[in-house]
Symmetry: C2
């Protein structure tokens, strides 16, 4: 498949980790940043350690222009502004994946608490700001440290969207990361739960010095072999 | 230890499952119900299949009188009324464990959504109504079907409380259930996340015909061997 994935905020630990994993899996990735030069440096860093890497770097909205999938991995304080900034650049028919978590740390509070979002979640705010795009919520609960390592990432990625086809595409993308099982989590409204779970996991990481993630137990396994 | 555990709402699937598991583990359990006779029938049912069972049944507030630990497993629509009803009966120094989830089904909505609770969560509402008692949030995310089976229950129980000693006691109780790992989830305010996770799991159960639960990955295991 010749799709192209823009990872906005891709110089941060979560975005960089996702970008690197997808490049390793043979995907074509454009790292997006406010600063094109920093984005290119991040792309160089991946190219230096992955043979035949298909990766470049550019300013966030430029990165969107040629992307089929746009992944948002930015701190919540930059979320709405970024969405407005990239809106004209997003191609019709592309998918926007929102991994943003509205941690209270965004407004000087604690990373173990979330802010209340009027629309219900950051992902639903994205859907409101981008009414003609399929918005998918995913990747909120992955430990960036594990994503940036070389081992399998032992966690499930719960994927939520009101667009069934976009949801399946993003399940496929998640499953490209070794160790990950990608689960259909239903409608986009459920993103509020995924986002809050991150605050719980941050608390567990602080309390127990871990890099926590989640696995869902008790599901029929056949369906989730990827 | 000669503690006594009252499971209120213990004739329902979640409460009955917990009661039976604890009786099997050698704990002394009083099943509580609005109807003492139904509570006694539930106790008889456990006694019939567990040798040397220490189990009885009684009306909810009577069940509290001799209990060291009171576990609430009632539908949210009965939660506040039950707390007011049992308040005079709860012994000083006892622990109240709240497994209640404010599913929107309580007011005719869907079980895949939760109601907003002014205090943040059902467990925090309990703490407000019982200011002199150690309230612990736990057991919201266990599949009742697995609890009522005989195999290990493959899930983690995240335990939250502002009372560190009560939290540890309830971790011990959770760990009596085969398969369960009991995790310190921090302050009671985090109960809001545990309660919402249940709505997500209900959705997964409907969508994927499972009996879902969660495991936290990425924590240092030593600490969680129970």
């Amino acid at each position: 498949m010749s799709r192209s994935i823009a990872v906005l905020g891709g110089t941060g630990p979560e975005g960089f980790g996702l970008a690197r994993r997808w490049v390793k899996a043979g995907e074509t990735v454009i790292i997006g940043s406010r600063d094109a030069k920093r984005a290119q440096q991040a792309a160089d860093k991946i190219r230096a350690c992955v043979p035949n890497a298909q990766v470049s770097g550019d300013e966030n909205s430029v990165a969107c222009v040629s992307a089929d999938v746009v992944v948002l991995t930015v701190p919540f304080e930059g979320h709405a502004a970024l969405l407005k900034h990239i809106k004209p650049a997003i191609r019709p028919g592309s998918i926007v994946v929102d991994a943003t978590v509205p941690l209270a740390a965004s407004v000087g509070g604690r990373a173990i608490r979330t802010l209340g979002i009027w629309q219900g979640s950051a992902a639903q705010e994205a859907a409101e700001l981008l009414p003609n795009v399929a918005v998918v919520a995913a990747f909120q609960n992955m430990a960036a440290d594990l994503l940036n390592g070389d081992g399998p990432v032992e966690c499930d990625v719960i994927v939520c969207s009101d667009d069934a086809s976009a949801l399946q595409s993003v399940r496929g993308l998640a499953a490209k990361i070794p160790g990950v099982r990608a689960i259909d989590g239903g409608k986009l409204e459920n993103a509020r739960i995924l986002e809050q779970m991150t605050a719980l996991l941050v608390g567990l990481n602080i309390r127990h010095k871990g890099h926590s993630g989640i696995r869902i137990t008790g599901l029929p396994n056949e369906k989730y072999k990827t």
